[in-house]
C-alpha cells in the first residue's frame, strides 16, 4: 500500500476512509471521467444495430465528424451548410446573450453589493424566487408574453407602435430574452460576491482624487471584479450554448439551436454515435472558446468557481 494511502487510512480510520474514498472515486471516475471518455469513444463508431456491436463492423471511423462538416455522402452540397450554420449561430447567439447579461447585471450586482440596508434583502429574495421555479415554466411565462396575441403585442398594438402584431417568436427575440432571463442569477451572484468584498474606501479615495464614475468603474471596480465577471460569463455562456428547454419552447419553427440537433439525432433518428459526435464538438468548442477568451482577458482558471 503506498504511503499516502496508509496515511489517509490512519487519519480517517479504515471504515470511514474506504467509504469516503469509494464515494469520491465513484463520482470522479464512474460518473465524470469514464462517461465522458465513453461518449468520446462512441462518437468514433458507426451506427450499428445492437447485435452487431462489438462485431467485425465495429471499427473506429471519422464518419460522424465528417458528417457535420461535409454532410451526407454523395449529397448535393460541398458542406453540411444547415448544421454548420446552426452551430455557428448557436455560438454567436450564446456570446450575445452573455454580453447582454453582463451589461444588464453588472449595475445590479454593484448596487446590491455596495448598498447597505434592509431593502437589499428584499431585493435578494426577489432575485432568488424566480430561480426556484421550473426552467420550463419560466420559458412558458415568456411564451405567454411574447405570443402573437400575448400581452406585449396587445400592449404595443394598443399603444399604436405597431399596426400588426410583431412575431417575436419567429424573429428569435423571445428566445434571446428567454435565455438571458434564465441565467441572470448566475451572472449576478459571482459578481456580487466579489464586489461585496471590495473596500468602499477604495472607491471613496478614487472619488476624492477627482475620478468620475465611469473612471472609477473602469480603473477600480472592474479590475477588482474580474474573477467574478469571468466566472459569471463562463457559466452563462456554457449554459446558454448548452440550453435545450428555452430553444425548444421559445425558438421559432425554422431556427434551431445546436442542442436541438443533438436531441434530434438521439430521439428522432436514433443515431446515437452521430449525436455523441455532435455533443463532443459542442463541448470541445465551448471549452476552447472559454479558454481563449480567458487568455485574452488574462484571467486564471483557478479564479472560476470562487
Amino acid at each position: 500500500m503506498p504511503s499516502f494511502l496508509k496515511e489517509f487510512f490512519k487519519r480517517n480510520g479504515v471504515g470511514m476512509g474506504s467509504v469516503m474514498l469509494g464515494l469520491v472515486l465513484f463520482w470522479t471516475i464512474g460518473l465524470i471521467i469514464l462517461p465522458q471518455l465513453s461518449m468520446l469513444d462512441f462518437s468514433f463508431r458507426p451506427n450499428l444495430p445492437p447485435p452487431e456491436i462489438g462485431g467485425p463492423k465495429d471499427v473506429y471511423t471519422l464518419e460522424n465528424y465528417k458528417y457535420l462538416i461535409y454532410g451526407p455522402e454523395g449529397g448535393s452540397q460541398d458542406y453540411n451548410a444547415v448544421d454548420l450554420r446552426v452551430f455557428f449561430r448557436t455560438l454567436v447567439a450564446a456570446v450575445c446573450v452573455t454580453v447582454f447579461n453582463l451589461i444588464l447585471c453588472y449595475p445590479i450586482a454593484y448596487y446590491l453589493a455596495q448598498t447597505k440596508g434592509n431593502h437589499i434583502r428584499i431585493f435578494a429574495l426577489m432575485l432568488i424566487i424566480p430561480y426556484w421555479i421550473n426552467e420550463i415554466l419560466r420559458a412558458f411565462a415568456l411564451r405567454i408574453i411574447f405570443g402573437e396575441t400575448g400581452v406585449l403585442n396587445n400592449l404595443l398594438v394598443g399603444m399604436g407602435l405597431f399596426d400588426t402584431p410583431f412575431d417575436f417568436i419567429r424573429n428569435d427575440i423571445a428566445l434571446y430574452a428567454g435565455l438571458g432571463y434564465a441565467y441572470i442569477l448566475l451572472m449576478i451572484f459571482p459578481i456580487y460576491n466579489v464586489i461585496e468584498s471590495l473596500d468602499r474606501n477604495q472607491i471613496e479615495a478614487a472619488r476624492d482624487m477627482g475620478a468620475s464614475w465611469p473612471m472609477i468603474h473602469r480603473r477600480v471596480v472592474i479590475p477588482y471584479a474580474k474573477p467574478g465577471i469571468s466566472s459569471g460569463c463562463t457559466m452563462v455562456f456554457m449554459l446558454s450554448a448548452g440550453a435545450l428547454a428555452a430553444p425548444q419552447i421559445l425558438g421559432g419553427p425554422s431556427s434551431l439551436w445546436f442542442t436541438q440537433l443533438i436531441y434530434q439525432q438521439f430521439n428522432d433518428n436514433s443515431d446515437w454515435p452521430q449525436g455523441a459526435a455532435y455533443a463532443v464538438v459542442l463541448l470541445v468548442t465551448c471549452i476552447l472558446l472559454v479558454l481563449a477568451i480567458m487568455r485574452l482577458f488574462k484571467v486564471n482558471m483557478g479564479d472560476i468557481g470562487k
Binding site: M20, L21, W27, I33, M39, M126, P130, V151, P165
Partner: protein
Amino acid sequence: MKSFSFLRLSVWFYLAIFFAYLLGPLVIMSVTAFNSPEFPRASPWECLTFEWFSALFQDERILNGIWNSILVGAGTVVLSVAMGLAGALMLTQIWPKLRATYYTIIIAPILIPGVVLGISTLVFWDRINRMLGLGADSFLSNGLFLTIIGQSTFIASYCMLVLVARLQRYDIALTEAALDLGATHAQAFRKVLLPFMKPAIASAAVLAFLASFENYNTTTFTFGEYPTLTIELAQKVRYGITPAISALAFIIVVLTVFVALANEANIRRKELVAAARKDATVEELESGRLRLPNFFSSNWAAVALVVVACLTIATVGTATVYSPQQCIADIREQKRLETEARIQELRQRRAEEAARRAAEEAEKGDDATGGTSTAPATGGNNSGFGNVFDPNALGGGSSDAEETDDQSSAPSSGGGSSAFGGAFDPNALSGGGSDGN
C-alpha cells in the same frame, strides 16, 4: 446635489426595469391561471375562473410526473449530498500537488452542458449494461437509476461547493480531541463533524432537491419510463399550451414565496432575539424577565408571510363557493351581440360601397381596370382568399375580432377592390358560426 438625486432616480428606474423583467413574466403567468380563455392570456380579461386548477388536479400525467420527480429528487439528494461531502472532505486532505487537478475534475460538471452529461451517462451505462450481459429491462437501463446518476453528477458539485464553504471554518483539532478521548473514527464523524456540518448539509439537500426537480437538459436523455414533472411539462408546452400549466406555475410560485418568506422571517427573528439578548442587562437575564421581541415587531418578512397566508386562504375559500358560469355565459352573450352588430355594420357598409361603386362605374364607364388592380366583380373573391392568409385571422380567433377587423378593413379602404372582402372574412364566418352555439 442635483446631479446626485438624478443619479439616485436613474438607479431606481433601472432597478424597476430590471425587476419588471425578472418578475413580470411570473406575475402575468399567474394571472393567466385565473382567466377563462382556453389559450393562456392575461388580456383581454374575461372571467375569473378556477377551473384550470381542477383541470390540473385531474391530469394523471402531471400527478404521475410529480411523483416521479419526488422519487428522483430523493435519490439524487441522498447520493449527491453523500458524494459532495466525501468530495469536500477529500479536498481538505488530498495531496497538494493533485489538488488543482482534483478540483478541476469535480467542478467541471457544473460547466459541462447538461445535454452532454445526459448523453454521456446514457452511453456509458448502456455499455456497462451490455458488458454485464443484462437485458434492456435491467435496473441499469432503468430510467429512474439513470436519471438519478445523471443528475447527481453535477448536483454533487453544487453540494460540494456549499459544504466546502462551511468545512473551511471547521477546526480539525475537534476531531483529533475526540479521537484522543477514545472515540472511533465513525463516532468522531457522527458526533463531532456531522453536527457541525448540519446547517450546510440541510442547505445542500434543499439545493440538490430543487436542482433535481427543475432539471430538464440531462433528464430528457435519461428518463426512460419515469418521466419527471419537468419532462411532462415540456411535452405539454411544446404541443399546445393551456392555462392549467399556468395554474401549476401559480401554485409553485405561491409555495416558493411562502417558503422564502418563512425562512427570511425565521432568520430575522433570530437576529432580533440575539440583539435583544445582547442589549439586556445581567439583572434582566438572571431574573428571566427579559422581554424577547414579539414575532411581528420590526419583522417585515413575518408580516408579509401572514399576509400571503391570508390571501391564499381567501383565494381557496373563494374558489369553493365561486362559480364563473354566469360570467362565462355573459361573455358569450356579449360576444354574440358584438358579432351580430359587426355583421350588421359590414352588411351596411357593403351595401353603401356597392351603391357608391355602382355610381362610380356608371360615371367612369369602361375605365374600371385602370385605377384599381382588379375588377370589382372578381375583387370580392380574391380578397376573400387574401384575408384567409392574413396572419391575424389565424391567430386572432373570434375574441379579438374587433382588432382584426380594423386591420383587415384598413387595406380595404385603401385598395378599393376588397370592399367585398368582408363577406369572406373568416372572422365574420367563425363569429356567425358561434351564434348557433
